[in-house]
Amino acid sequence: MEVTQVLLNAQSIDGAVRKTAEESLKQFQEQNLPGFLLSLSVELANEEKPVETRKLAGLILKNALDAKEQHRKFELVQRWLSLDTNAKSQIKACLLKTLSSPVSDARSTASQVIAKVAGIELPQKQWPELISLLLSNVHQLPAHAKQATLETLGYMCEEVSPDVIDQDQVNKILTAVVQGMSASEGNTDVRLAATRALYNALGFAQANFSNDMERDYIMRVVCEATLSPEVRIRQAAFECLVSISSTYYEKLAPYIQDIFNITAKAVREDEEPVSLQAIEFWSSICDEEIDILEEYGSDFTGDSDIPCFYFIKQALPALVPMLLETLLKQEEDQDQDEGAWNIAMAGGTCLGLVARTVGDDIVPLVVPFIEENITKPDWRQREAATYAFGSILEGPSPEKLLSLVNVALTFMLSALTKDPNSHVKDTTAWALGRIFEFLHGSAVDSPIITQANCQQIVTVLLQSMKDTPNVAEKACGALYFLAQGYEEVGPSSPLTPFFQEIVQSLLTVTHREDAGESRLRTAAYETLNEVVRCSTDETASLVLQLVPVIMMELHNTLEGQKLSSDEREKQSELQGLLCGCLQVIIQKLGSSEPTKYVFMQYADQIMGLFLRVFACRSATVHEEAMLAIGALAYATGPDFAKYMPEFYRYLEMGLQNFEEYQVCAVTVGVVGDISRAIEEKIVPYCDGIMTQLLKNLSSNQLHRSVKPPIFSCFGDIALAVGEYFEKYLMWAMSALQSAAELSTHTAGDDELTEYTNSLRNGILEAYSGVFQGFKNSPKTQLLIPYASHILQFLDSIYIEKDMDDVVMKTAIGVLGDLADTLGSHAGSLIQQSPSSKDFLNECLSSEDLMIKESAEWAKLAISRAISV
């Protein structure tokens, strides 16, 4: 096969030619994979070939090594590892050779492919000579090869994890990279490649950052690079600083003053891509300090992992004026451009983070700026002042802000109606929303909103909902937080007198011609939802009246025929919003008996609408409709059984939706809702549901976060159907057992520990459901064979000492359930278990009432089981 020609054809404008070429590439690959990959690498390395075919050859090669989806990636890795060694050596030789090609695209493609191969082979201890080969390149070859080699090292560091490369080699890589970055490197491309490589290599430099001399050296070179005449190098150097700020926060103290000077100069004078990174450095420091302070509270003792160095507090007097300056550099229409990101936005965001980091201290530094600019004729000054005000509302104490906010509130309400500039109004509405979010609600002692100004606030916000879409969207947001603040207000809400008017205005907004811009329609429905959620019994009848209104809206979306794909997407989005709204209403009305009773007259029609929403799509189900059905099942109770014959196919479809795992997870939750609602009436559907759930568990394509809820769902079903669960017992128990073995140890990072705990919780909830479901049935003895394994599982997770409170509560409950259901059969097993007693005692003396409650129950059940 003439590879070059096929690769050219594969990029032809003629679709038919392209298709034939793709077909023959596919055939070649299937018939002879090593030969195929080898000829691609030969093509890439061949200096006589056109650059397009070399690039494409490299790209296909790269795609043969890596994929986004985990399971596909795993397959490709296995395939490469099992490939003929000889072919692999030849391919790798071609790739390395290409690094010194004069054609920059070829070099760059080769760099990426080498990194992918390294990502597969280095963890397997293969290709041991790679790093030394690359390093020798750096020291010998012409500049362009040196550049490509540094780039390769950078990509490689991105692909492999630090523990794969030993410290000796890390040292050599860092030495080469940092030398390439230094001012003495004459070639700009080399210096840029080295700087970008360092960004990826920073994660490998733990040991080097602990060595004062090496750290000083790296920091000096990075700081020097921020002063390079080449803008791309300055930008890359600042990116390194940003990364260092989070990875090596605790090592920054000696350099922070210098870094401040460098960043301040960049923010004020440099080109935007550079100044954005300079601001990001401080935002990132804020992130770190907020995390540290949140984790340790104010009583930091000094022996915790990472101390807070209060860099922001120290830099405050200089940092705040620098950020305030940036606020005046707005772009004309940034508030209408979804993708906008500029120095004013970055500076404003950073100011908000600074306020959260230092609290009260920021207020006196910002107030003069607000006062000076808020009434100026130039809209930029008014907008900057308003933004500054809005951004310091989170962080400082309400006491510190109260007098300022009381004055500002009146001013803002007037500005929102009268300011001639749309950008100013946008920011004003946003700032009002921030006032309501942070300074209004049951947690705040002295209320900002009183009987005297509530009417005016509502009037102004409703008025602003008629403004341009971006302003109206912010006004909706402000109303959202206004309503939220009254969530726990008690039987009577100050918003009651305005309820009808608010709902009417929000519905009007959803019908605006331009409601598709600036997320306006979404914001209006979200606000409507919050207004309903936070409403009181006084307005229950008005919420009831809303039901047929939203139903009619949903009905209207079902009328359109023959939609274009664009229209279909819009229809689906609107249906999502309406189903979401119905879900909130159902949950609200279903939570009290009298309103639930009246609401039930609509249940059949609503369910009919949901089924039609499902029918709008052929292969997938609508997540929002599914969530709403869960709420409906809960409200309807046993009567929900009558919807099952029609609904079941969508339930199954939802459970099969691996790609949109959120949909799958939501559907699993709904199975639980339905089980509780209709109990044994779910039996006719159990075969299908259980089969699908077991399939999902054994699939490696399904996102792992869905697995714990599937286990919990086993418990829900078992509890609902009782001994009928016998049919599935063996399968469910074996799935639980193997998952239990996997989840005994949590070795790994916090995220993995959290996941393991959620898995444990799901497994334990399943056991609880099974035991309680079988209780008092003649088939209890079927569970006896599983008891010792379950006790072992409880023992081992107790011994691991890394349960969270939720798992602890569920686990001790399972011990009780086991004793309760198996009685004397369990008594001796429990007494033999090494840690049951300690575990129970620990739970009995827990501060957590839920744990204690479960433990008290377990204690009773066990004492009964033992005494019999």
């Binding site: 965001t349 946008d426 939750g669």
Partner: protein, 422 residues
């Protein structure tokens, strides 16, 4: 390598409403799952048994009530260990009275101030009225006094307490509350919770029971004004941590009921039937109309009177376990009056009074008056006798209690929270 995207959310709420709806759904599902589990567990046969953990042979002791309990028979036969409430509610006659009479936790009288009051104890003002057990089950509610007799039979908003349309509760659901019925406002003041909706709280600490009591009673609707399905109002009493402020609030605070002394509960104590030193009663004139015992005519006798049990060899003892010896009755009197072991006898404390050595009773100057009222079931407890004695001579005053909370002694005994590193 392209520059890294550093855009951050701008003027946006951090969480989307859809995400919020998802999370609220999950929260609701979690709650519902918990409820379903809880319900399943409550149907458990294992927690229904409410046998008294007190050994059968333990003598019963008197409650703080001064009106003597009529017609309680002496220990009669044993009760089945497996007696449960639904079955207990089917018992008839003396059996049932006996059973219920043994289910209450009875406080000792406070004769000295316990350590660590402010850390380990709660205090509240006891409502004046009839101590009773309120049991709701099978759609009806029954209140029984300490002697087992029925006070009221009525529908209530307690779980399983009335036959209402929406009573979804299973037949096995029931509640047992420890209450005081306050005549004046016809209200049951719930002072402790023993079982709630089938869920036993016997083996829970009072800290936990009070928490549960306060959250559950309110949400059940039992505190609502009386209605067709809810004949009497229930109410909780304000319970305070027994620090200076709490004690002062319980002592002086305005409550909607007439006070009859203060009750002190050890936070860690389980609900233990019978007498317990982990619940204490204390009174003075300011917080109770009944500080000093009255006689059968309701008048305060000039000399303190005590009821003691006569044992073999003329021993005179209290109802405590083990009994406290107060002295010996002269053989002549025994013979002359035809007394025998087991009789309850009334004595007056003469001028010699009670004398103590190292905090223990050394001598009692007693004057035999005669047999005790036939209605009496038990002798007085040691703590009651001593409390009544000190009330007449050198009462334990509220200031003493307040002072003990602040005393350096109390401070010293506090366990140190800070671990020394040195």
């Amino acid at each position: 390598m392209a520059p890294h995207d550093l855009r951050r959310p701008f003027k946006r709420a951090a969480i989307s409403d859809q995400q919020k709806r998802r999370e609220l759904s999950l929260l609701r599902q979690e709650q519902n799952r918990r409820d379903a589990q809880q319900q399943a567990r409550c149907l458990a046969s294992s927690i229904l048994s409410l046998q008294s953990p007190v050994p059968e042979s333990e003598p019963e002791q008197s409650d703080i009530e001064l009106e003597t309990a009529p017609e309680i028979e002496k220990e009669s036969g044993t009760l089945s260990k497996d007696l449960d409430v639904p079955r207990a509610s089917k018992l008839r006659g003396p059996e049932v009275r006996k059973w219920f009479a043994r289910q209450l936790m009875l406080p000792e009288w406070m004769i000295d101030v316990p350590d660590r009051l402010s850390q380990d104890w709660y205090v509240y003002a006891r409502p004046a009225g009839k101590r009773c057990f309120v049991v709701s089950s099978n759609g009806t509610t029954v209140s029984r006094q300490r002697n087992g007799s029925i006070l009221h039979h009525f529908p209530s908003a307690l779980p399983a307490g009335a036959k209402t349309r929406d009573s979804s509760g299973s037949g096995q659901s029931y509640c047992i509350l420890d209450c005081i019925f306050h005549e004046l406002d016809q209200t049951y003041y719930v002072i402790d919770m023993v079982c709630w909706n089938g869920y036993s709280l016997y083996d829970c600490t009072s800290e936990f029971r009070f928490f549960w009591l306060n959250s559950k009673i309110e949400e059940s609707g039992a505190c609502n004004p009386p209605s067709c399905y809810h004949k009497f109002r229930f109410s909780t009493v304000p319970v305070y941590t027994c620090d200076q402020n709490g004690l002062y609030a319980a002592y002086t605070g305005v409550v909607p009921y007439v006070k009859d002394g203060l009750l002190f509960y050890n936070k860690h104590a389980h609900y233990q039937t019978g007498n317990t030193p982990l619940v204490l009663v204390w009174k003075d004139e300011n917080c109770s109309q009944y500080v000093i015992d009255t006689d059968s005519k309701g008048e305060i006798p000039s000399q303190q009177q005590v009821v003691l049990e006569l044992q073999d060899n003329g021993k005179l003892v209290t109802s405590d376990d083990p009994p406290v010896l107060f002295g010996y009755l002269d053989g002549d009197i025994i013979q002359k009056s035809g007394l025998h072991s087991g009789n309850l006898l009334r004595f007056a404390v003469s001028d010699g009074g009670l004398s103590f050595v190292d905090g223990k009773l050394d001598k009692a100057d007693l004057n035999y008056l005669g047999k005790a009222n036939r209605g009496r079931a038990f002798a007085d407890s040691y703590s009651k006798v001593v409390f009544q004695f000190t009330v007449r001579h050198s009462p334990l005053k509220i200031d003493d209690l307040l002072a003990s909370i602040n005393s350096p002694d109390d401070q010293e005994k506090k366990p140190c929270d800070v671990e020394m590193v040195g």
